[in-house]
């Protein structure tokens, strides 16, 4: 008797979660997948077209451009974030005065809605009177202002910088948690043995940090693929579509009334994210084995 009622209770407690997830995740995902097999355009009658949208997608050069951009963006951003995040985590790990304040400060970029901070960045990158160009000219780094938002290279780096700014805190916090699990005795022993700071970092810190690093990498990569807010506000995908991420590309199709094609793109993005997740998990487990 206890077993049965326990099972029943178990499910009852989970009903709200199941309902909410079923309606607002499962149904839309399935719906999106199904829509991707249809011609769903606002000014045309709906029609089942099988894989037509996908065929069109595979020969769509604009899509592959946005795909390339997204991958490049993810690679560079995530690497920079891990690098900076590690340094910041090392700083925050120590018992320095103002530690509490620093921890609040580090949260600010992550906590402010990116759509809002993007406007501040818009101003900072402004060609004529933005902060960065002012600094560049004042410091003599260049004789002419840099076209941050109006050139494809400039726009690319503008987005990378702003995104690194926004998500390094998140990486920092995760790495900080990882650092705190490393027993202080290991360091003490190493110091007594005479190993210097650098060796301690590479032989103790990094290896023990690896599982956390992998988790951070995984989350960040999958997250970075979805990038939308920053690009929509800062560059709108331009100039000339050069900074359009795959999410933005799908969004533009939804906005122009072509839900079928937008859905196909969305499905592809979803598959890409899943593939990466699986890849990471496999890779993560492999390195675990090697230790």
């Amino acid at each position: 008797m206890p077993k049965n009622s326990e099972t029943k209770q178990g499910y009852i407690f989970n009903i709200p979660l199941i309902i909410v997830v079923a309606i607002f995740i499962v149904v839309p995902v399935v719906g999106t997948i199904i829509t991707s097999f249809f011609r769903d355009v606002s000014f045309l009658p709906e029609k089942f077209i099988g894989l037509e949208n996908y065929k069109r997608l595979f020969s769509d050069t604009h899509f592959w451009q946005s795909f390339e951009f997204t991958i490049l963006f993810v690679l560079i951003s995530v690497l920079l974030e891990i690098f900076l995040g590690t340094i910041f985590a090392l700083v925050l790990n120590e018992n320095i005065p103002g530690k509490g304040l620093l921890r609040v400060v580090i949260l600010i970029p992550w906590a402010i809605p990116i759509a809002i901070s993007a406007r501040a960045w818009e101003l900072i990158y402004n060609f004529e009177y933005g902060l960065f160009n002012y600094i560049i000219i004042q410091l003599g780094l260049s004789s002419s202002p840099f076209n941050w938002l109006g050139s494809s290279t400039g726009a690319f780096f503008s987005i990378v910088i702003s995104d690194v700014w926004k998500t390094t805190p998140f990486i920092t916090i995760i790495l900080l948690a990882g650092l705190s699990t490393i027993p202080a005795d290991l360091y003490k022993q190493a110091k007594i043995d005479g190993t210097n700071f650098i060796k301690r970092f590479f032989y103790i810190t990094l290896p023990l940090l690896r599982p956390v690093l992998i988790v951070a990498l995984l989350f960040r990569t999958i997250d970075a693929i979805r990038i939308f807010d920053l690009i929509y506000v800062l560059t709108g995908g331009g100039p000339g579509g050069s900074t359009t991420s795959v999410s933005l590309y799908a969004f533009k199709y939804y906005l122009s009334g072509d839900f079928g094609y937008g859905s196909a793109i969305s499905v592809l993005i979803f598959l890409l994210a899943s593939a990466l997740a699986i890849l990471y998990m496999k890779f993560g487990r492999l390195t675990e084995e090697f230790k």
Binding site: E6, Q9, G10, F13, N14, P16, L17, I18, V20, V21, F24, I25, V27, V29, G31, T32, L84, L90, V91, G98, L102, R103, V105, I106, L107, I108, A111, I112, P113, I114, A115, I116, S117, R119, A120, W121, L123, I124, G130, L131, Y134, W165, T168, P169, I173, I174, A177, N196, V212, V215, A216, I222, F228, D229, S247, F251, F259, G262, S266, V267
Partner: protein
């Protein structure tokens, strides 16, 4: 010792870089919001310290700043409350009761959290249109609850799993029902966890942009990230002073939250990450 000195230097420089790095755009926002000429760096105009930008955006009826703020606060709070409640219920059952699927649910949820929002957008929009929920709070609250659930669940899971089952057993023997145990015994001692879950869900909902952009149309339901992102101001050229003033006001709630609850946020994030 040399190394100690090096370490000191590293830490101090690191601290300064960290602070400058994190605060730069925010400080710039504040500076520009207090000046008449956002282009003062070009050298052709002076800065012109003024509070005008703030008074202007509050007194102008077409800016709707307070409406956006109100909408954001209501939507985020309700979504966070619902997410925390639902997560608590599920987490309790998963850690206390045996039923098939108790491991599957959190894993599936984790999987779902990887979904790019864009994959949900199109069909969700159609669903919400049919329900007539476009441009209402409901169109945002329920999706936000769903998006916040994975993290909220993992936080509550990690908290509840650390609580001894003896507490429950003692009450069970006394004849108490599971729900009563949860609400009267478990929840009161899980306040830190609840708090973390609530705050993180709140922050996440407050910052959400894509859904708010597509599911809301005007000031009646529009949230503040969308409001500021699309802010054009009252005159043709981009009125940076106004935008920055509005932005500063918009982020004040969040800054207050993280200043007060930094500990809970950190805890929640690390739990979610380590468990993941």
């Amino acid at each position: 010792m040399n190394e100690e000195r090096l370490k000191q230097i590293f830490l101090i420089t690191g601290g300064i870089v960290l602070t400058a790095f994190c605060l730069l755009p925010f400080l710039w926002m504040i500076i520009i919001s207090l000046g008449k000429n956002p282009d003062f760096l070009s050298g052709q105009t002076s800065f012109g310290f003024t509070f005008n930008n703030y008074t202007a955006i509050f007194t102008s009826s077409s800016v709707h700043l307070l409406d956006y703020l109100k909408n954001s606060l209501i939507v985020s709070t309700i979504a966070a409350i619902l997410a925390t409640i639902i997560a608590s219920l599920s987490a309790y059952a998963i850690t206390r009761l045996k039923f098939p699927g108790r491991i599957l649910i959190p894993l599936l949820l984790l999987g779902f959290s990887m979904f790019p929002q864009i994959s949900l957008l199109g069909y969700l929009f159609k669903m919400l249109s049919e329900l007539g929920w476009i441009n209402t709070y409901a169109s945002l609250i329920f999706p936000y609850v769903t998006l916040a659930l994975p993290l909220a669940l993992w936080i509550m899971l990690s908290h509840f799993s650390r609580l001894s089952k003896e507490l429950d057993n003692a009450a069970l023997i006394d004849g108490a029902g599971r729900l009563k145990i949860l609400s009267k015994i478990i929840l009161p001692i899980s306040l830190p966890g609840l708090f973390s879950a609530f705050i993180l869900s709140f922050i996440f909902s407050f910052n959400e942009f894509l859904f708010a952009l597509m599911f809301t149309i005007d000031y009646k339901a529009r949230t503040i990230p969308v409001g500021i992102a699309l802010f054009e101001g009252l005159y043709g050229q981009i009125p940076w002073g106004y935008i920055m003033a509005a932005a500063v006001i918009a982020v004040l709630p969040i800054i207050m939250v993280i200043a007060l609850f930094q500990k809970y946020i950190m805890q929640g994030l690390t739990e979610g990450a380590i468990k993941g």
